[in-house]
Structures are given as structure tokens and as C-alpha cells.
Symmetry: C2
Subunit: 348 residues, 2 copies
């Protein structure tokens, strides 16, 4: 599927009793960044209010209603199971409500590890994490795409790579720069309406999956293809996925995502210093194709303004790169750095 | 499964018309290194001869016979489909012969991408590439195993990592050093009788698979665990698998495998110089746990003795490490370097 082929959906979000949980970040992503309409949110604990009243940073309003029946009155095509996959399995008490929606012909959309298609035989179900069956091996065709490709990488996982990518995209849109966003995880896929959850792909084919996504995004000839990264080169569990994306998406430049946390990755190993991990990302990328890190996107959540400023200055100083929090400040300096970066050629 | 739990098999190898093909390297691996007995080879084009007559470097003898019926007279428990997975699909004309074996209760063993279990319903089939269903995420427990762990890495794929690992194991056995071999690809799994084909595992779980294999190999308290590596850090298609093994198997030291070829990886990118890729492997490993490269295992196939000597001297000079071809010379210097390497601690 290309971005142009992604169907248009009208979502109702089912998040009974949990819409304000951090576990609902899936739903939050759709509201903040999704290309598709959201017509209602189901959470009886907040019913009668509106999304922007209970979640001021949602950027999009919709009524919160008490039941699936009420949500269906808004004519959704699709019902999103508003739980992050970390939540794991579907709460059993949600099954009845989802079945009610599915029976009316509404599509059930889920990013859970647990696949829902077998639970609703004969009904429309989009298990977002289910990879396509025809992913080929990496071929090298991605090394020849015309648009510039920028990939987000990180000092750890869950550090804001998707948000950074989407904020750069938003800023580009405001500036009239044509981009395509490549979603590589379930929340990004809901937002974009297409993509591949690369961590669910058999390992031999992850680089091929990333390459296919880039080839499809290139079809509309955008100025920049923005690829959502995953994991981290130093994350003991997910580094393989990270590296498959680094080589498979054939980027011309990288955006490093970093935060001020001193928490160990998986509680096991220290987060690498930005300057050190930048050098490693660049050296490992250059085995296939050079891709310099051109900017650092900071996640300063929880810091005071002063702390955030200090942290940004320290990272900019240590790396010699623009370093900003796209949410607290603006993604413009990151976009500028991406636009200024040259297209690179494969290593010969 | 632990190495101790791997069942004992008596193999017949089915390789009709192809036993001397390079595509039969699967069968050759079993003959050269396998823990299990080989009672006969089926290839009517060579029938009446013996394995060591037609393949002098097989290290193990067995009769070559003309038919499955004749092979069954030697009482095999299992019949190996003697084709490398690059061969892809089972030659359709083989199906009848394999069915004949399966009908008698003999187990069919296959390393093909194509799974054979559905072709022989109700019969015993071991699809070697089929990963177990219960592979967990990487947990960090592998960072604490007691035996020393050595992993083979490479400047490219298909460069002799399995052979290097098995030659070190063989040399260790001769020297009375207790080792366990961890197989991560189909040929290695046939040889060892257990293991996981990591390139068939969903990407999120490859590091976890490697870790589980190390934990199981540690149960017999060997002096050294030797892990078969896959791919290369600079291989655009397989680098993710390589890195998942590098972090997931928690090695204390690495053995670099290199050859003198100037062929580009996938026809796309140059093979990195040994010294450069050694530094990168070490730096990327050290994000989680330091693992110095302690020796270079050379693949000098096709070189004259003089060329091989010159190549070995050049690599030893450039890297400052022992550099030998374990097949042409001896794996003893590699084993020595592994034994001399200290156990390392996770990065803090």
C-alpha cells in the first residue's frame, strides 16, 4: 500500500475507563497526529465532556460518550481499541462492546500484540501489528530513491522518535515542504493509515520491509521522506530492529532523539552520551551509505524551562548540532537541518 | 531444549543426484561435524561407492545407495533432506521418496524455507528452521552466565562463521576443553541436534532467542560457549540479525571471520577492512557489554599456500591479532586466544 492508497476512516475510539491512562497513548497519537477523523471517544467515566476539556493537548476535539451505541450515532467507519500494546491483552470486559460495533459492520482496529481477527470471524478487523505476507528481502533499490530520506534514531527506546518525526512533518507541512511519513510501529500506522510494524516482521525481512516502505513513499515524489525509527543501537533487546531500519531505509541523514533521563536502558545498561552514539550511528550507517546526524530532538518532559534550556545547550555544545525539543520549542531547526543536508551516495 | 536433551538420531541423507552439489552443504555439514550417526546416503548417481571415496574431506564414511528402500535397511531414525535452503523449495520428484520414508515412521528432517510438516500430515517431521513458539524477550539474565561466551562475527555473510565455530569446538575437544556449541542457523542445528534458526524469528525476539540458547548451553557448565554468528554488521539485509546476536548472546569475546574476496556484499557495498569492522563490533558490543575481538579466522579457500600465508600475515599485521585459517592450518591459535580472554562485565 502507498500513502495515497491508505483508506479514509472515521474513527470512534473505545477507551472505557482508560482514556486518560498513559496506556491510551495509542488513542492520543491518533488524536494529535492522525490523518483520519475522530468522531467520538467512548469512556463512560468522562461522558458528556469533550476531548479538549479532558486532554487540552489533544489538538483535536470530539465528544466523549458513554457507550458504543452512542458512538455509532456519529457514523464511524472504524472503532479503535484505544490501548497501547504494552497493555498486552484485550480486557475481557471490552469484548462485548467491540462485538456490538463489529456486528454493525464497523471495522475493529487494534494495535495489540494479541490478534483480534480470530475473535471476530467474518467481521472487518485491522490488526495493525500484523505484517504483510509478501515482504521481500532487502534488494538495494532503496539506495536509489530520489527523495531525501531522514530517519530518527535514539539513545534509548520510547524516547520520542515517533513524536519527533511527526513534529518535523507538521512543521514541514506548515512551511509548504512536501513530506511522506513512514510509520514503523503500531501508533504511527494508525496515524498514517499505512506502514509496517517492523518489530513483528521475521528478522531476515526487516530491512526489506523498511526498504519497501521507502520505495512506496517515494512514489509521490515528496521532498523528504521521514522515517519513524525504533529502539536504539545500544538497546540489548531491540538493537537489531534499529539496525535493520538504519540500513534498510537507506537514509541520507539522521535525527538523534535524546532525553535527560539517567535511567538505565531496560534497567541494565547506561544510556550512551549523545556524541558517542552519534558517532556510532554514523559509522555503522556508512558501512552501507553515509547518513550524518544533522540535529538532536530532545524530550524534555518533566524538566523546568530552565532545566530544559540548560540541557539543550549542553547537548548542542557536546554535539555541535542544533538541539531542540520540538514540543516545548519548535521542530523548525530540525527541519532546517534536514533540508540543508545533502542526498548521500551508497558507500563504494 | 538443552544440548543434553537433544535426541540421538541415526540419519539417512536423501540427496538424489545432488550429493556432490554445493547446494548439498547441509548434508556435508552433518557428515563433517554432526553429533549424530549417518548410516547411508541416497544418490543413485553415486550408488555403490562410499562417502569418503566421493568426498574425501567428509571425515566420516557411509555407504551411498540407490534408493530410500536400500537406505531404510540401515535402520535410520531420520531422513535428512540434503538441500541447502538457498535451494528454496523441495524438488517435486523428491516428494515420493520422502513419503516412502515417512510412511515407515522415519522422521523427515528439513532445513528448507518451505515447511514440510504440512506435506506429511500425521508423520514425524522436523522443520529445522521453524522457531519455537515460546521465545521470550531479552531479559538480561544472559549477562550473568558463568561460562565464557565467544561469538563469531564476520566482514560479510557466508564467510565461514559456522565452520570457524565448529573447528574451534573440535580443537577444544581434542585439548580436553569442555565447550557447548550454539547453533543459530539450519546447518548448525542439524549438526548440534538443537538450536534456533534466528533469521526465522520475529525481530523483536531475536536477542531473546540468543539469550535463551546461551542460558541453556550454560546448564552443563562448559568452560566456553561457542556461538555461531550470522550475517555481518555491514550487511544491508542481515545486519539486524547480526546485532541481535551480538547483544543477545552476551559474548565475552569475538572471533572475526574474514576472507580475501573483493566481491561486494550483495553486489552493493564493499567488504569492510578487518581492522575497521573489528573496532565497530567492539564499540557496538560495548554499549551493552565489552567483547573484544581476540582472533581472526580466515577463509582462504581458492588461494595458493603462498597467497594464503601472505593474506594471513597482512591481516595479523593490520589487526595485531592471531589470524589463521582453521581448515588450512589449525584452530589452535583461535582457541588459545579465546581461553586467554577474560570474562567481561556488563557496561555500567
Amino acid at each position: 500500500m502507498t500513502p495515497q492508497e491508505a483508506p479514509e476512516r472515521r474513527y470512534a475510539v473505545f477507551d472505557e475507563g482508560r482514556f486518560l491512562d498513559s496506556n491510551a497513548k495509542f488513542a492520543h497519537g491518533l488524536l494529535r497526529y492522525g490523518k483520519d477523523e475522530v468522531v467520538a471517544v467512548v469512556d463512560s467515566s468522562l461522558a458528556g465532556q469533550r476531548v479538549l476539556e479532558v486532554m487540552p493537548d489533544a489538538r483535536r476535539d470530539a465528544p466523549v460518550v458513554a457507550s458504543v451505541g452512542e458512538a455509532l450515532e456519529f457514523g464511524p467507519t472504524s472503532m479503535l481499541v484505544g490501548l497501547a500494546p504494552a497493555g498486552g491483552k484485550l480486557p475481557p470486559e471490552w469484548m462485548g462492546a467491540l462485538r456490538e460495533a463489529a456486528e454493525t459492520g464497523v471495522e475493529i482496529v487494534s494495535g495489540l500484540h494479541q490478534r483480534l481477527a480470530p475473535e471476530f470471524p467474518g467481521k472487518k478487523v485491522w490488526d495493525v501489528r500484523e505484517p504483510p505476507e509478501d515482504v521481500p528481502l532487502f534488494s538495494g533499490a532503496g539506495l536509489e530513491v530520489e527523495p531525501k530520506v531522514a530517519l530518527t534514531v535514539g539513545t534509548s527506546s520510547a524516547i520520542g522518535k515517533m513524536t519527533a518525526t511527526l513534529e518535523v512533518r507538521r512543521t514541514a507541512g506548515q512551511a509548504g515542504v512536501a513530506t511522506e511519513f513512514i510509520a514503523t510501529g503500531q501508533t504511527g500506522i494508525i496515524i498514517a493509515g499505512w506502514g509496517i510494524s517492523v518489530d513483528a516482521v521475521v528478522s531476515d525481512f526487516v530491512a526489506g520491509a523498511a526498504e519497501q516502505l521507502v520505495l512506496r513513499a517515494a512514489e509521490s515524489s515528496p521532498e523528504v521522506i521521514l522515517v519513524e525509527g525504533q529502539g536504539s543501537l545500544g538497546h540489548p533487546a531491540y538493537s537489531g530492529v534499529t539496525l535493520s531500519l538504519l540500513h534498510g531505509s537507506c537514509p541520507d541523514c539522521l535525527i538523534l532523539c535524546a532525553d535527560a533521563s539517567e535511567e538505565k536502558v531496560m534497567g541494565l545498561v547506561p544510556r550512551p552520551e549523545p556524541a558517542r552514539i552519534i558517532r556510532l550511528y554514523e559509522e555503522v550507517a556508512a558501512l552501507v551509505k553515509p547518513a550524518p546526524v544533522v540535529a538532536v530532538s530532545l524530550n524534555t518532559k518533566g524538566l523546568t524551562d530552565d532545566e530544559a534550556r540548560e540541557f539543550a545547550a549542553a547537548v548542542a555544545d557536546a554535539t555541535g548540532l542544533p538541539a531542540v525539543d520540538p514540543l516545548r520549542d519548535s521542530a523548525a531547526p530540525i527541519l532546517e537541518a534536514v533540508l540543508a543536508a545533502p542526498k548521500t551516495r551508497p558507500t563504494v
